[in-house]
């Protein structure tokens, strides 16, 4: 059994509205981006897609600015323990890992695609 002294004192942040703003930003960005692509391929003159997309980007950028400002401020106030700092390293590692998996997925679709894939598999290029 671990005793209480085995654990570092752990800074728990206050409640925050930032995650809900991040959700809103992501929703608007994706919704606007999807509309923008559809408008582009149908040759529509509508500004709806690009407007929503840029608004979402603005919400997201503002949220991230305040979020990271908070984290930097807390770091400078020495609120983070060694354990907390390690969790930032792991967080970034998994984020980049997920990005690598994203690109692996997209590239795999390309390589296994009957049109493009044949160039690699059957060397018809």
């Amino acid at each position: 059994m671990a005793s209480d002294t085995t654990y570092e004192s752990y800074y728990v942040p206050h409640n925050s509205a930032l995650p809900i703003f991040a959700s809103l930003g992501i929703f608007l960005t994706v919704y606007g981006g999807g509309n923008l692509l559809n408008e582009m391929s149908s040759g529509s003159d509508s500004n709806f897609g690009i407007t929503v997309f840029l608004m979402g980007g603005l919400v997201m950028a503002t949220t991230l600015f305040f979020w990271f400002a908070k984290v930097i401020e807390e770091n400078h106030a020495k609120m983070y323990s060694q354990q907390m700092n390690k969790s930032f390293v792991w967080g970034m590692s998994w984020f980049i890992f997920s990005e690598v998996m994203f690109f692996c997925g997209v590239l795999r679709c390309t390589l296994l695609h009957p049109v493009l894939g044949c160039r690699l598999d059957r060397r018809c290029w």
């Binding site: 930097i72 930032f88 493009l116 059957r122």
Partner: protein, 169 residues
């Protein structure tokens, strides 16, 4: 043999319905702008590492200098990609509507370009923080995270350069 004349090859640049979706007149070759972009991004991976060394030595001027160099290289990459997209649309007729090659080309390079943009924004934030006197040898994970991301973006570009530009064309 049911189809003796069967060839296991799909026409990459001939679309089933050319009237609805006009095929591109050509594709972007690897040894022009894409090669320049490869050199830009590989160089920027070195400059960001030099900035990291400067943090370890506590040399503020060098941190800022190498970060500026990295950001300029990243922006130059984005400008080259924009020029390439313009050429694809204006001179080759290679668009999002020009068939499977165009769709795949713009999806892969577009997602990568978006990631370069994100990485450049991260580096610009790190430059601002470096100017405010942040980052010491033992407390610089924000910078390291941005540098990791930048290396990741560089590696993905090398994959795209080989798979899309060299093997794909």
């Amino acid at each position: 043999m049911i189809w003796p004349d069967y060839v296991p090859q799909w026409p990459l640049l001939d679309n089933p319905n050319p009237e609805q979706f006009a095929a591109p007149a050509g594709v972007i070759g690897p040894w022009g702008l894409p090669l320049v972009n490869t050199l830009l991004l590989v160089t920027s991976s070195f400059t960001v590492t030099f900035a990291h060394h400067a943090i370890n030595h506590g040399d503020r001027k060098k941190i800022i200098g190498w970060l500026v160099a990295t950001i300029v290289l990243g922006l130059a990459f984005l400008v080259c990609q924009a020029v390439e997209y313009y050429e694809a649309y204006a001179h080759y007729g290679l668009t999002l509507n020009s068939g499977i090659f165009g769709s795949t080309f713009f999806m892969l390079t577009g997602f990568h370009g978006a990631h370069v943009t994100i990485g450049t924004i991260m580096l610009i934030v790190m430059l601002g923080r470096a100017m405010k006197g942040h980052f010491t040898k033992t407390d610089c994970f924000g910078f390291e995270a941005a540098a990791w991301y930048w290396h990741f973006v560089d590696v993905v570009w090398l994959l795209l350069f080989v798979l899309v530009y060299i093997m794909g064309t």
